[in-house]
């Protein structure tokens, strides 16, 4: 390595100056190689080499040259790294690109480096601040425009700064130079008053685009409609004063679609009390009542997560969130804050549950789609291409989940071109909590008047302003950059351990909740309902940097924070415990019973609103729906005689193929709780269901799965929802969970939700949720909606485009397994085992993957027959309980053909099956029989000696033995007795893996 040390003059370093430490690799650097690969893959084929340096810029007034030298050795590893101080690392290169953070953005690496330095130097290093950045040195005949473009492709301009120099400039200026990304703000911010005595037009504009700042710029969406604005105006008129900005912002947060679910609570046609109360919640009530003493629900729809009985000692909780809008702008940041955010929904359940399992689900456009679309006219502000969105989001959940030590065994990726404008990011967390804590019900919590309001965890910054109101709007050029939060999983892990593993058992607090959407404005005001009042001193809230406007402190969604109610006499003990755990905890006010939410800033009252108005003042919407007409042409392609090629093509489809690269980068073994893993069998096939053992002292397990069928909604939203529910349930049954104990979670990700047609579809889907949850007796325990997943912008021809996601309903399911040893994986196990199809196949290919492969939608969408399904599920559960089933794969996308192939691939064993034997109704084509997506079906393998016992157990249901396991090929005989497919396992495996290989 040529360091050319002598070609540079030493920068003069001394007391009080900022210093720059550059750490470089002395050995092969896998990170640099991977960066190089990515750059070349992004089309910069002339780049021939890359090297990296990790840069630490120190602001440390008291450290001398020798101390800084010591810092260098603290921040590097002599076995593989070297470091330079005050002079730049200078390998052979043509362009240097440095990427660091913008002012105010959380810099985890910098913070850790500063902590290490303070630990060594003590008082001398007080006030030390470290800024981290990374310098990338590229070799190759590229232009400076290329270098700039490469920098932009590697960084996110919302949170990172990019600095590019060519070699000549670098040499001339002796390196990249020192950049101190310090936030500098107006030093004396106060709350402003806002005049609402304005025209309706102006009032509406304030609601839509935000309060006008002194510099004549709007502050960003309040997402309040004119009707709401008028009610607010009248409220303050009644008080005889103008509202302050913080009051308006606070109302906007609390009343946002995101927080109040205005569409689900609105009057819709004949549903006077809204979809949530009359359908979702009602279904849960009925299902629980029907279950009687078998009702396992403990806490539903009231807390941050829903909770059910796990065993005599524990409850298990579950919550699934979405983080779509932030992930569209900053895929990595949006996804990491999504996953660590939903972890806090476990920590915020009852007195605090321990997060035990993460789940994920991503809806993307095809990563190969490279056509640009733009937020602004004239080809300006391109949105990120699907591939970058995909990889960024995958990595965000990787870092968030792995760093938190929470296993992530379960997830899916679903692809459709309509997710190009806005991806969907579903993230969920299960939690475990003892039913009793020191003899008290752990689900009960209540702030009492006199309790201190304590904020725990991270500090508050400008990140995540208007997250709640922004996600209640379509993505457009007006979407605020500050809406993206930055994740810091280690800060949260420290907080989580200190709260759940220590403070909880010591009974140091009365109530706890998450700081999520709306930040303090929502968490404090929400908790204040428990005692009917709160008063805060905003200046005591710890900030990332001084000079923030009060309203921003109040609504900021800076991450990794919880709000607690702590009895006065326990505050000292609590704060001291947190200190010893490296966690910041600050008293910021007091709960009371004044009926008001009062916020003071440096003694001045800047907010004084009745809690009742804050929470219940928003007008109830009245909405009307209309059912859209949906009729598609029936595809007319001919049946092929040999279906081998079609089966291989099906296995390669984005929605069916292997996503092993995601499963292996998510730690699914941590906590030692993994039972059924994300990749099953010798052949490592992605399974639909996973099972965990949350308490190593118990033999019980918890099975989890998810299902969604957005494309069925192109035909019928009712069936879309019904199929998702059926699949989420049958996936669990296949693994060994019994129907009786299964509970569900709903996540609606809709689009343009004020349009009557969209509401019509919503009404249909919700009706299906009601009907099926009641019939299956599977209550909903928690849910979430995100109603405006639309993108408005311009295409490559400068024509306006609107891309809306297909109305998407994700159903997540959870069930307790009595004995984990009885669980069944999906892989075929042993040569000679019999192959069974359970459940009837019908002509139901509409909206399915086979028709999609033929560029058709069709109309024959799968329908759920819940009565037959229930009988089948109970019979299968009995057979599994009796140990009669060697493997079981639920039939989903791609039908029987794909399910059989996956069973074989996973077991690394072939099969011979006869389609003629499969129970079916009205199918005359082999391809339709093979790929129909009829619901409530399974492919199971059974040992020959268990044949009669198994068949006895399944009696009364539609099922049939269709072949046996063995060999290294998949051979299928068709309806006419002729062979219709024969494929080698190796070829099937290749087809299954090739699509996303390389990621």
């Amino acid at each position: 390595m040529d360091l050319k040390k002598d070609s540079f003059k030493l920068n003069c370093l001394g007391v009080g100056l900022d210093s720059r430490i550059e750490v470089f690799s002395k050995v092969r650097d896998a990170r640099a190689e991977t960066k190089l690969k990515k750059i070349i893959a992004a089309g910069f084929k002339l780049v021939s080499g890359a090297e990296l340096a990790d840069v630490y810029t120190l602001e440390s007034p008291l450290l001398d040259e020798k101390d800084i030298e010591k810092c260098g050795s603290l921040l590097s590893n002599p076995v593989m790294q070297g470091f330079l101080i005050g002079r730049p690392f200078c390998p052979e290169f043509d362009f240097a690109i440095e990427i660091g953070f913008l002012p105010g953005v959380t810099d985890n690496v910098g913070n850790t480096a500063a902590e290490t330095i303070r630990d060594v130097f003590g008082k001398k290093a007080e006030g030390t601040v470290v800024y981290s950045s990374q310098a990338l040195f590229l070799k190759g005949k590229i232009s400076s425009a290329d270098a700039k473009a490469i920098g932009e492709s590697l960084a996110n301009s919302l949170i990172q700064r990019i600095h590019v120099k060519d070699r000549a400039g670098f040499l001339k200026e002796n390196g990249m130079g020192i950049v101190i990304p310090k936030v500098r703000l107006d030093p004396s911010p106060e709350a402003d008053l806002v005049d609402l005595e304005v025209s309706d037009e102006e009032l509406a504009l304030i609601g839509k685009a935000g309060i006008m700042d002194k510099n004549s710029e709007r502050r960003g969406p309040l997402a309040l409609d004119l009707e709401s604005m008028k009610i607010i105006r009248d409220y303050f008129k009644g008080l005889g004063r103008k509202p302050s900005d913080i009051e308006l912002e606070s109302l906007a947060q609390t009343w946002s679609e995101h927080c109040k679910h205005t569409i689900f609570s609105a009057e819709l046609d004949e549903i006077k009390n809204g979809l949530f109360k009359e359908k979702i919640k009602k279904a849960t009530e009925i299902a629980r009542e029907k279950k009687g003493k078998n009702d396992n629900c403990v806490s539903v729809f009231t807390d941050n997560s829903g909770g059910i009985n796990f065993d005599e000692t524990f409850l298990v909780t579950h919550k699934v969130e979405t983080h779509n809008s932030p992930s569209a702008l900053d895929p990595f940041g949006g996804a990491i804050t999504g996953i660590v955010g939903v972890n806090r929904d476990a920590m915020g359940f009852g007195m605090g549950a321990k997060p035990i399992v993460n789940v994920y689900g991503f809806c993307f456009a095809d990563p190969k789609d490279a056509k640009l679309i733009f937020k602004s006219r004239d080809l300006k502000n391109p949105i990120l291409p699907p591939e970058r969105i995909m990889l960024g989001i995958i990595e965000g959940v990787n870092v968030g989940g792995n760093c938190s030590g929470i296993p992530t065994p379960q997830g899916f990726m679903f692809f459709d071109s309509r997710y190009k404008g806005k991806p969907l990011v579903f993230v969920g967390t299960l939690g475990l909590i003892p039913k009793l804590l020191n003899g008290k019900d752990s689900t009960l919590k209540e702030a009492v008047p006199g309790d201190a309001i304590v904020m725990v965890g991270n500090r508050v910054g400008q990140d995540g302003i208007h997250g709640a109101t922004f996600s209640s709007e379509a993505l457009s050029s007006g979407s605020p950059a500050t809406a993206v939060q930055i994740g810091d999983p280690i800060t949260q892990k420290k907080m989580s351990d200190a709260l759940v593993k220590e403070a909880r058992g010591l009974e140091l607090y009365n109530s706890i909740t998450d700081n999520g959407a709306g930040g303090l404005s929502c968490s404090v005001a929400e908790m204040a309902k428990e005692c009917n009042g709160c008063a805060l001193e905003l200046e005591s809230v710890p900030l990332k940097y001084p000079g923030m406007q009060p309203w921003k402190t109040w609504v900021s969604e800076s991450q990794e924070r919880m709000t607690l109610a702590i009895p006065k006499e326990k505050v000292e003990k609590f704060v001291s415990l947190m200190e010893r755990r490296g966690v910041e905890a600050t008293v910021i006010g007091e709960f009371n019973d004044s009926g008001k939410c009062i916020v003071k800033n440096n003694g001045k009252t800047i907010m004084d609103i009745d809690l009742k108005f804050l929470h219940d003042g928003l007008p109830k919407k009245t909405l009307h729906s209309k059912l859209p007409e949906k009729m598609h042409s029936e595809p007319s392609f001919k049946e092929e005689k040999n279906l081998s090629k079609q089966l291989l093509e099906m296995l390669s489809r984005l929605n069916i193929c292997s996503r092993e690269f995601v499963s292996t980068q998510y730690d699914h073994e941590v906590q030692g709780t993994s039972v059924l893993k994300p990749l099953q069998g010798k052949g490592r096939v992605n399974a639909e269901t996973s099972v965990s053992r949350p308490s190593l002292y118990s033999r019980k397990g918890v099975a989890i799965s998810q299902a969604l069928y957005p494309k069925y909604g192109d035909i019928d939203s009712y069936e879309m929802a019904a199929c998702a529910i059926d699949s989420a349930i049958k996936n669990l049954v296949a693994a060994g969970a019994k129907l009786d104990g299964i509970v569900l979670l709903d996540n609606f990700c809709w689009c343009s939700s004020l349009e009557p047609e969209r509401l019509g579809e919503l009404k249909q889907a919700v009706q299906a949720c009601f009907d099926l949850a009641v019939k299956f007796e599977t209550p909903f325990i928690s849910g979430k909606d995100s109603m405006f997943n639309d993108f408005k912008g311009f295409d490559e021809n400068n024509s306006p485009v609107k891309i809306s996601v297909p109305p998407t309903l994700l159903i997540s399911s959870m069930g307790v397994v009595e004995d984990i040893e009885k669980c069944v994986s999906m892989d075929a196990k042993i040569q000679g085992d019999l192959v069974y199809v359970l459940g009837e196949t019908k002509n139901e290919l509409g909206g399915g993957e086979f028709f999609a492969m033929k560029n058709a939608i069709g109309n024959s969408v799968p329908k759920v027959d819940s009565e037959k399904a229930i009988l089948l599920y109970r019979a299968l559960s009995n057979a599994i309980e009796a140990g009669l089933v060697a493997s079981c794969q639920p039939v989903g996308l791609g039908g029987l053909g794909v399910a059989v192939a996956k069973t074989c691939l996973a077991g690394n064993l072939g099969t011979k099956i006869d389609l003629k034997k499969a129970p079916q109704n009205g199918l005359e084509r082999n391809d339709f029989l093979l790929f129909s997506e009829s619901q409530s079906r399974f492919v199971a393998t059974v040992a020959e000696k268990n044949k009669s016992a198994f068949e006895q157990a399944m009696k009364g249901n539609a099922f049939a033995e269709i072949g046996s396991i063995g060999g290294k090929t998949i051979e299928i005989t068709g309806l006419n007795g002729k062979k219709i497919a024969k494929i080698k396992l190796d070829d099937a495996d290749e087809a299954y893996r090739k699509t996303l290989r390389g990621y």
Partner: protein, 267 residues
């Protein structure tokens, strides 16, 4: 029956403390999970223990290099106490991030008992990505107390920085002095760098090493995630095979041996 105390560190993003403590408990020791700061505040806790475990996790989020910030913290606050602990012929194990921490501390390899010198490192995986997968390991002829009687074993790895590197001289010394404990394997033989059998590109396929006394042991794979039969990646297949032979399913899996060896060392 005598139960040695196993001190399991936690704090700052360590996250495998509970299952590591569980494995020690299952193996017959009395585990105690202790926060790094509590240990610093009260170093005598160390005097009461016989086994010290640095569990896996993401101490300090891997910032400034995996295991580096935690190593700095210990070196700056507990170094003498740690040397005394080792001197008393006690046992130390570092798993995954704990292995990274004790190599940064220079507890490993400690050639010539020169503890404190960094001479091996765990670099970014060749894939430059976090890899969570099961690996096969074969043991070399070695002195390690923890792995007595183990010839081959399977366990999961889960790390982004696990590529073992050292210069030739050190590698030679490690091999000659019986300090190489586990190598990543394919079909019972060292994997020769082949991915995914060697999941990170480790030199000589090294997955774990011990010091010259055999009492300090560090490894990237996670034995504490393989103490139950139902944790194994192949347990579903094994279950069917056993059932059809009419045999009962075992409760344990072989990872427990590592913890049991540690406990038995004090008997």
């Amino acid at each position: 029956m005598y139960k040695p105390t196993a001190l399991v560190l936690t704090g700052y993003g360590i996250n495998c403390d509970e299952e590591t403590a569980f494995a020690f408990e299952k193996a017959g020791s009395a585990p105690r999970i202790v926060h790094v700061n509590d240990l610093i505040a009260e170093p005598k806790i160390l005097k009461q223990a016989q086994i010290l475990a640095f569990p896996g996790g993401f101490s300090y989020g891997d910032d400034t290099g995996s295991g580096n910030a935690l190593a700095n913290k210990i070196r700056n606050n507990l170094w003498q106490e740690l040397l005394e602990f080792i001197d008393k012929k006690n046992l130390v194990i570092g798993i995954c991030n704990g292995f990274q921490a004790i190599t940064n501390l220079g507890l490993l390899p400690g050639i010539g008992k020169k503890y404190g010198e960094r001479s091996v490192a765990l670099a970014h995986n060749n894939s430059a990505r976090y890899e969570c997968r099961w690996v096969s390991l074969v043991s070399e002829k070695n002195k390690c107390v923890f792995t007595k009687g183990i010839r081959g074993i399977e366990m999961p790895v889960a790390h982004g920085e696990g590529k073992f590197i050292a210069d030739k001289k050190i590698l030679k010394q490690l091999s000659e002095r019986g300090m190489v404990v586990f190598k990543y394997a394919k079909n019972g033989k060292p994997a020769k760098g082949e991915f995914p059998f060697n999941p990170n590109g480790a030199m000589l396929d090294i997955a774990g090493i011990c010091d010259e006394t055999g009492r300090i042991f560090g490894l990237m794979p996670h034995p504490e995630r393989n103490v139950f039969f139902t944790q194994r990646q192949d347990w579903q297949l094994q279950k069917e095979l056993l059932k059809r032979k009419g045999l009962p399913l075992p409760e344990e899996s072989d990872g427990i041996t590592i913890f049991r060896n540690a406990v038995n060392y004090f008997k």
